[in-house]
Symmetry: C2
Subunit: 332 residues, 2 copies
């Protein structure tokens, strides 16, 4: 039985950009397992953009991450000891156990997963929260019809790449926006988007116009900033915008939107959502996404940082778009 | 039978603000009435903010008003001669016959109305397009529950005053935003809003905060500009914003919105709409609004300009907020 644990806690709140000083790696002792409890060894930590919002104290959609407490977040791991009737040693489990090597749980929020057809890490990506986010925003907000044009920002990311593949499967024209030629190439070649615009190439307006000759019917917003304005100007009547993330403003800068008039002129619907608030859709989404991964119909990439100590740097890289696909930290 | 007509045509498109030179008053001869046609004498012209958008050539939700053609718009009048089986001399009719003294119609879009309980002019206001606009945006987009807080901009206007009265009838706390102490007083005293904020008083942020202690659940957007940003910051989770008009940007200035992040943080839904695209809701809305006016439960004000030649000046005043309630031009 392991008795030593290591964890990363929030040491201070960011002033603007996140820095390494906002985190602290510390040792901890694992208590004995009580009846009804289960000890999990984390194999993977999930790093996600929403965590940036939680590091602030200001109003957001979730309570702030407490200072000096283990950084909260999704995890995939294995049960190493159990005094809980629902779990046995060897079970693979998904939970929200945070940035630490081990965790003790009473089973709440812990889900056993089958890794015979879907790799464990995928349950943190396209068969987990990011995948369900993509599924919900596309199906419940954008609800595209075949032949419509759907644009996805952060298209190579854990969410965006799933949005695009699901939209392609519905017969849409799908255009991604991503940073850099490598990501854009993968978005088209690996994920099958019809086109991908490199926002770093400095030609966003003209490139977007060329890639969406029939206008835009649906937009899956992962980034905020300039892209949203340009997309608004090209939206067709009755277009739908699912607002999933606004990374560009996470560090607190105000990024004004100039084309808000398009909401009236094109009778758009713009809706923000947080996937954890729609639990009724998770079973269907996970079933469809798992089957697609198992059947080889849904592709994904992972960027894997090695070791708990690498989590802060990997998280900062995620906020800068340095990852490619789902950002994970591998602990074993 | 009258043979002489007078009309106002669009002489040129505005460059920025509308000026009198954009219009031209001209005489015309009325042709003989053909079989299936009806001759109407217009009693009232309706002046509405949407007309400003139509004066431009740029993309909007309706085709531009053609140059050198009669200004299009809603009218209320009386049949003076008819060779149409559905209409007889003396019938009171609502139509879209434009800025002219007389018009000949084949009956398309012409509706007979009963003026025994509802005055003819009200069919251009709260029992007409503006009223249905208010009804739809409130009931189909904001859909407020009793106890929720609804904010309405341009609250003393033809649309806003109806929105507020309908929301009060649903048990909401209703806060208006209007320009000047006289309008604000009427919004509270005549229309029964719980509070009204004078945006000209220079204290919009603090006044809005004081008037909405429990935050804002629904916002009926008639104006655009600074108010929208302040409202976004005070929206409660799952709030709804109906975007009906953005007068502040009609003259082409770009008015940036800074708080777009609120759409994600508060999981808001923002939807633009054009009431003419939802014909299925008109019968129910008009029935309810007509009954409310006839029963003295829905109050309204009109600003009436006298004579066809006064229409351009009255329209420019409307865009500046100089009207009080529904802006009409009386021709008889």
């Amino acid at each position: 039985m392991p008795t030593q644990n290591q964890m990363i806690v929030l040491a201070s709140r960011p002033k603007g950009e996140v820095t390494p000083q906002n985190f602290r790696l510390q040792d901890a002792t694992l208590p004995d397992l009580a009846d009804g409890e289960v000890l999990i060894k984390n194999h993977f930590l999930s790093l996600d953009p929403y965590m940036r919002g939680r590091m602030d104290e200001s109003k957001s959609y979730v309570p702030p991450q407490p200072l000096d407490k283990v950084m909260e977040g999704g995890t995939a791991g294995e049960v190493v000891a159990s005094k809980h009737p629902g779990f046995s040693a060897g079970d693979k489990v998904i939970g929200r156990l945070g940035w630490q090597l081990f965790a003790i749980s009473n089973g709440t929020g812990l889900t056993k997963v089958d890794t015979t057809q879907v790799p464990l890490s995928a349950y943190l990506g396209c068969v987990g929260m990011p995948g369900v986010t993509a599924w919900y925003g596309l199906n419940q907000i954008i609800a595209p019809k075949a032949g419509e044009t759907v644009v996805v920002s952060a298209a190579s990311g854990a969410v965006g790449s799933v949005v695009g593949q699901l939209a392609k499967a519905k017969g849409c024209r799908v255009v991604g926006v991503a940073g850099g030629p490598d990501k854009c190439r993968a978005v088209v070649d690996e994920y099958g988007f019809d086109a991908c615009i490199d926002y770093k190439a400095g030609n966003l307006a003209a490139d977007l116009k060329a890639a969406t000759p029939d206008g835009i019917d649906g937009y899956f917003e992962n980034t905020g900033g300039e892209i949203l304005d340009l997309v608004l100007a090209r939206m067709n009547a009755f277009g739908r915008i699912a607002v999933c993330g606004l990374i560009a403003s996470y560090d607190g800068q105000s990024i004004p939107v100039n084309n808000i008039r398009a909401i009236l002129i094109s009778r758009l619907t713009m809706r923000g959502f947080i996937i954890s608030e729609h639990p009724q859709f998770w079973p269907q989404a996970l079933q469809e996404l798992g089957a697609a991964v198992a059947g080889g119909k849904l592709r994904y990439r992972e960027t894997v940082a090695q070791g708990l100590a690498s989590a802060p740097e990997a998280f900062m890289g995620l906020l800068k778009g340095r990852n490619f696909g789902k950002q994970l930290v591998k602990l074993v």
